[in-house]
């Protein structure tokens, strides 16, 4: 499974995307809904939606967690739930390993 190093670096610079991934990793393999993620990561649901799937001009869809293949959408009973992919899990593991290293550049 190849992980693009620029994806890791980009996620590391985005506190909200990182927090979302860490939370989804915590509940993996379970999925959860948008409002719950927003509550846990202490952010506005529209910001969380932007980070997950992109939102107008404010959040670039191509760098959203779903477009990058880190998070998948599970549709159940007409509701959308979000779950970390295997690729996303691997990225979270690396982010944790690189935490000390990246903190040198902050």
């Amino acid at each position: 499974m190849y992980i693009d190093p620029f994806v890791i670096r980009s996620i590391n610079r985005s506190e909200l995307r990182k927090r979302i991934l860490l939370y989804l990793n915590e509940i993996y393999p379970s999925s959860t809904y948008l409002a719950e993620i927003a509550r846990v990561v202490k952010s506005d649901p529209s910001n969380v939606k932007g980070a997950l799937i992109g939102l107008g001009n404010r959040y670039n869809g191509s760098s959203s967690l779903v477009s990058l293949g880190l998070v998948e959408i599970v549709e159940r009973d007409g509701f959308k739930y979000y779950r970390l992919t295997d690729y996303g899990k691997k990225v979270v593991e690396l982010l944790k390993s690189y935490h000390l290293y990246y903190s040198r550049f902050m």
């Binding site: 992980i3 693009d4 190093p5 690396l94 390993s97 935490h99 000390l100 290293y101 990246y102 040198r104």
Partner: protein, 319 residues
Amino acid sequence: MEGLIKKLDKNISAMVQISMLHIFQIGLKYGIFTRLTEDKSYNDILNLISFGNKPLLKELLDTYVKLGVLKREGERLLMDEFSYTVRLSPESAPYIIPGWVSIFEEIYRMIDYASITPEHPKILMDFDKDADFWDMRLSLEFNSIYRKIIAKAGNLKDEMRVLDLGCGSVSPIEIGQFLGPNGKYVGVDFSPGILSIAESRVKGAGFDWVTLRELDIRKAVPRNRYDAVIMSFVLEYIDSIGRVIKTAMNALESGGRLIIVEPFKENYPNICAWEFFEKLTKEFNSFPTKSAILGALENSPHEFKLKELGNSVLIITKL
């Protein structure tokens, strides 16, 4: 063990072959071969090709000459008759591990950025600044293969003491796991970035028998004696192989083993194609020859016994 050795050697051969294809692709992409039919001097060619990074272009042209694709006649640079066959057989295909191909592709892409400027931010080959990319390389299954070979060849087990020169970020865990809880693993690397990644893993795994030291191995003077000293894919960054081999032999107990893993140049024709890409790391010199290592061993004051495993592993026992 035989299967692991074959896997290592066949993947290294595949790395060389893929590098050959990519180095040709660069020549086609930048119109280098087209220019060479125009009867121009070496310096004209350097100036005519749109490659901002002229030292890299020079390196590329020199590599083509080493490979026999081009030849120099006085001041002129000419195309030579050249053909190249990629060999993939039903016998070798099962040994090829796909993981490293994507990493190599990433490195090939970096040449385009390096052609603009050697300082381009999309070049990820610096040991410290790009320690994350190096960690991804070192985490590949290919790299785990040679670590398994090292563990078997050194008969590594609890209570043994091992010195790993140029340890990187993954060996402290993958080699260190064999030595605990009563043994000792000392990993030496000059990159603080790589060591900080290794440290966080060692701490997470609770391997308190693993020690990491930030040091240039050319300047290392080990005070303790070890049952095994490891050098894997590190001699290509060292300009004084003799000195480092001597240091490694001095650090060994009698009966201890020095284990070296490298794509020895004698065994891999055309390896200079791969070297061209590795030169994006400024410390990269050249993959070592087996004869240079033997020469260094013979010049060291220690008696030794040498065993070769396939084309890329040397086991040296200090007598």
